[in-house]
């Protein structure tokens, strides 16, 4: 087998193991911690009888290991269990919300990724000059404010004061794409700002790192122009680090979505998760937690694989 395939197979196996371990952690975290779920759901005034019934209903009397494998088995077959609070099938409720969340994340990524790479290049091109410093100052600010506050600042200034776009982002299937985009304009802006800073900083660092290599000097001493050097010599070596940066930030974006959805009352998975944490609806929290973790681990895995694929030493072994 080509060594590169072996390496990738190893990484994928490692990713699956990590996901498996994460599922244990999420399940264990909700089941083994001291809080009594039944008590939490029914409140302090619950009678011992109703508590016992609740425990039986939740399967709390089974050994934890058996419950874990039952849960995981169901998960793998698409059965996420039923919500405690309203008794509805979780998979059904999640389906549409997951779609909405991905819709929001997709548009945010579509805008932020090219923009971040462009700004990163710009900062490198004008390193230590005004554009670079301006970009650093802006990123420093956005890094220092939590997502939800960027959200309200934008709602206040863009939506309320200027009257552009809607301040709540409620979408449904009957809306046209244009209507949907209008609804999510501000949330997308917020998410873009949130990941842009990190992504741009990291892109800048990655490109600078490549531009300081001796082979760039070699190209310069061949009399090549800057643009040509970047296209022919820097770019092939910068792809891997940039893809890495993008993936890591997309993973970050997935988490940012949770908060932004709450701010804009957007009907996505993040809001669903937060609502049910407050209601202490454990099956829902477990299901959402595992899905978020899977996306996060998956994106990091892609970043790893791209780095392997882009490494000429691995691609063309001796």
């Amino acid at each position: 087998m080509h060594p590169i395939l072996k390496l990738i197979a190893q990484r994928v196996a490692l990713g699956l193991m990590l996901l498996f371990a994460a599922s244990i952690l999420i399940f264990g975290g909700t089941m083994l911690l001291p809080g009594d779920v039944a008590q939490q759901i029914l409140g302090q005034s619950a009678t011992p009888e109703s508590l016992a019934n609740m425990r039986a209903e939740l399967g709390l009397n089974d050994p934890p290991v058996a419950r874990y494998f039952q849960w995981l088995g169901g998960f793998l077959q698409g059965d996420l269990g039923t919500a405690l609070t309203n008794g509805r099938d979780i998979a059904e409720s999640l389906g549409g919300r997951l779609k909405n969340t991905l819709f929001l994340a997709f548009w945010a990524a579509l805008i932020s990724v090219p923009l971040a790479i462009f700004l990163g290049l710009l900062a490198v091109r004008y390193k230590d000059r005004i554009p670079d410093k301006l970009i650093s100052a802006v990123t420093l600010t956005t890094i220092s404010i939590p997502e939800f506050m960027i959200g309200y600042v934008l709602i206040y200034w863009v939506s309320i004061q200027m009257g552009w776009f809607s301040s709540v982002a409620i979408i449904n299937d009957s809306m046209s794409l244009g209507q949907k985009l209008n609804a999510i304009a501000i949330p997308v802006m917020v998410l873009t700002l949130v990941v842009l800073a990190h992504m741009m900083r990291m892109t800048r660092a990655a490109i600078l790192n490549v531009m300081q290599s001796a082979y760039i000097e070699t190209a310069e001493l061949k009399g090549m122009g800057m643009l040509k050097i970047i296209a022919k010599h820097a770019f092939p070596n910068a792809i891997a680090p940039i893809v890495n940066v993008v993936m890591i930030n997309l993973a970050y974006l997935v988490v940012g979505v949770v908060v932004v959805e709450v701010v804009f009352a957007y009907p996505g998975m993040g809001q669903y998760l937060v609502d049910h944490v407050a209601k202490r609806d454990v099956p829902v929290v477990q299901a959402c937690g595992l899905i978020f973790a899977a996306v996060y681990i998956g994106l990091n895995l892609i970043a790893d694989i791209v780095s392997i694929l882009a490494n000429p030493r691995l691609r063309h072994p001796k």
Partner: protein
């Protein structure tokens, strides 16, 4: 642009001044001058050697011939004429035409200078093609011819490989091919053989020399090694701290240097050291050591046996990968051997560091190649030297201070060094402090691992002289690990030559360095550049004869 003049030299440098911006910690960045007005001419087809120690500004001057400043370096004054044009006054477009077309560059580290993501052929022919000198086909044919001339294996196909797929010596030749491919008028060679092993260096040097001669290209050959530059250049310019010290023909510089500094450079490593005879009982006896690193299935040391006598120096000589530094790790206990034993001062040493007695630890000290990383940057010289005194002898207060000063005097540093930090010392001073730290333990044996190879020749010379002096005073033994045969000749009493983990030749210095030689020792000894004209040709002719004889 100035008018091209008749009979003008290819390269004419006048009053060249080069500045740099430095960023000292805690201070404002400011500009300093690193080259203070240098003049020279170079005619077409000739080779000029630029020689000097680190900080002499030789690479900076070389790059100025391409109107290029590395990092924060900037050309601040003077004129550089190439083919009659002042390139410092030319626009960017003309400068780009010059770089990679008229003037090309060979760097010290080809491994870093080749783009890892592209095939060798593409990189070698790139400048020739886009500068419009040759078509792709012509350029590739030229490259193959150059690969052949430079003695690369399989010249037809080597260009299809990626840089990491060929060896360091081969890649350095590829870099030379890259520089010669566009048919330039001038090539700047910047320490092209410094990073190579000595037996590889001679081949690359010969290949470069032949290529220069056959193509009739002119060259600036930059190096710190006078013996190397003597083999390839017509003229030599000696530089010190950004100014010219002496300029002359190679013959004059080597055989009749006028300036004191040049004389010192020429006579470097002429330390005379009388070989001592072995005593009855060795201080250190290494017997049948075999060792490998954890997690590998390859023996780095194979059945190594050597003796070291009290008050003497055993030199372990070998190229990279010979296992010489691993031997030091085994003796110090950092790497327990899989087989064999070590006897030290009549006792069998425990193979593992944590189980050694304090006495063993004290009597066996080590000095490292990089003095920079061998000293804690957050400790003062006084603390660094004082710690072994405190640790082994329990010295405190006044007694400790006095002893530290004694040691500083012994290493010829004197007063006022106790409170300094390593970053405030020069390279040679740092290495001296490391020597003092080793001496503080009153050891019987000091392992010196390439202690002079990171230093400039004159500084290294000073360190070697100091080590010899200390050996006389303290009666300490040295296990001296080095790749540099000149150093070995200067200080060893006995020598072990290592190749691929084995000792291939071992004995008193006079025997090891006298014929008849085994093949490897012969190759190694004959590869060390000598400070005389025509040495390279002699060796090559000699080797040719021998191989014909076989």
């Amino acid at each position: 642009m100035s008018e091209p003049l008749l009979k003008q030299p290819l390269l004419q440098v006048r009053g060249l001044k080069i500045g740099a911006t430095v960023y000292p910690p805690g201070e404002r960045p400011h500009a300093i001058e690193i080259v203070h007005g240098v003049d020279f001419d170079l005619e077409g087809g000739k080779v000029l050697g630029l020689i000097g120690e680190s900080g002499a500004g030789k690479s900076t001057i070389g790059l100025a011939a391409m109107a290029y400043g590395r990092g924060g370096v900037e050309i601040t004054g003077g004129e550089v004429h190439v083919n009659g044009r002042d390139i410092l006054q030319s626009g960017l477009r003309d400068v780009r035409k010059l770089r990679g077309g008229e003037v090309t560059y060979v760097s010290q580290s080809a491994a870093a200078s080749f783009n890892p993501a592209k095939k060798i052929m593409e990189q070698v022919t790139e400048a020739a093609i886009f500068q419009g000198k040759f078509s792709k086909k012509e350029a590739e044919a030229r490259a193959v011819a150059l690969f052949d001339k430079l003695g690369l294996p399989d010249p037809e196909n080597i260009g299809e490989r990626y840089p990491h797929q060929v060896s360091g010596g081969q890649l350095q030749r590829c870099m030379t091919a890259l520089a010669l491919c566009p048919e330039p008028d001038l090539v700047v060679f910047d320490e092209p053989t410094t990073a190579l092993d000595v037996t590889t260096q001679i081949d690359v040097l010969a290949a470069i020399k032949e290529a220069i001669r056959d193509t009739g290209v002119a060259a600036l050959y930059i190096t710190h090694d006078l013996a190397v530059v003597a083999q390839v250049s017509d003229h030599i310019m000696v530089l010190q701290q950004g100014a010219m010290v002496e300029y002359g023909t190679t013959d004059q510089i080597i055989n009749n240097p006028q300036e004191e500094y040049t004389q010192a450079l020429v006579s470097v490593r002429s330390i005379a050291h009388e070989e001592k005879t072995p005593t009855d009982t060795p201080l250190l006896r290494v017997e049948n050591i075999t060792a490998r690193y954890r997690g590998t299935d390859f023996d780095v040391l194979k059945d190594v046996s050597v003796d070291l006598h009290p008050g003497q120096t055993l030199a372990i000589v070998g190229e990279s990968g010979s296992g010489k530094s691993t031997l030091a790790r085994v003796i110090t206990g950092l790497l327990p051997p899989s087989q064999g034993s070590i006897t030290f001062d009549g006792r069998t040493l425990s193979p593992d560091l944590p189980t050694r007695s304090p006495e063993d630890l004290r009597e066996l000290q080590m000095i490292y190649q990089m003095a920079d990383t061998a000293m804690n940057p957050r400790q003062t010289v006084g603390t660094i030297i004082g710690r072994p005194l405190e640790f082994y002898f329990g010295l405190k207060g006044k007694a400790k201070q006095t002893r530290i000063q004694e040691l500083l005097d012994e290493i010829e540093l004197g007063d006022g060094f106790q409170d300094r930090y390593p970053a405030e010392l020069s390279g040679g001073q740092k290495q001296r402090v490391c020597i003092a730290r080793a001496l503080a333990a009153k050891p019987k044996l000091i392992i010196c691992d390439e202690v002079t190879s990171a230093l400039d020749p004159l500084v290294a010379d000073g360190i070697l002289k100091l080590l010899l002096k200390l050996q006389k005073i303290e009666d300490v033994s040295y296990l001296f690990i080095t790749h540099d045969l000149a150093t070995v000749k200067a200080i060893a009493d006995s020598i072990a030559v290592m190749l691929q983990g084995k000792v291939v030749r071992y004995g008193p210095k006079s025997q090891v360095l006298a014929p008849p030689f085994d093949d490897y020792t012969d190759l190694l000894l004959s590869s060390v550049p000598e400070m005389k004209l025509g040495w390279l040709e002699e060796v090559l002719a000699h080797r040719k004869m021998e191989s014909a004889g076989n």
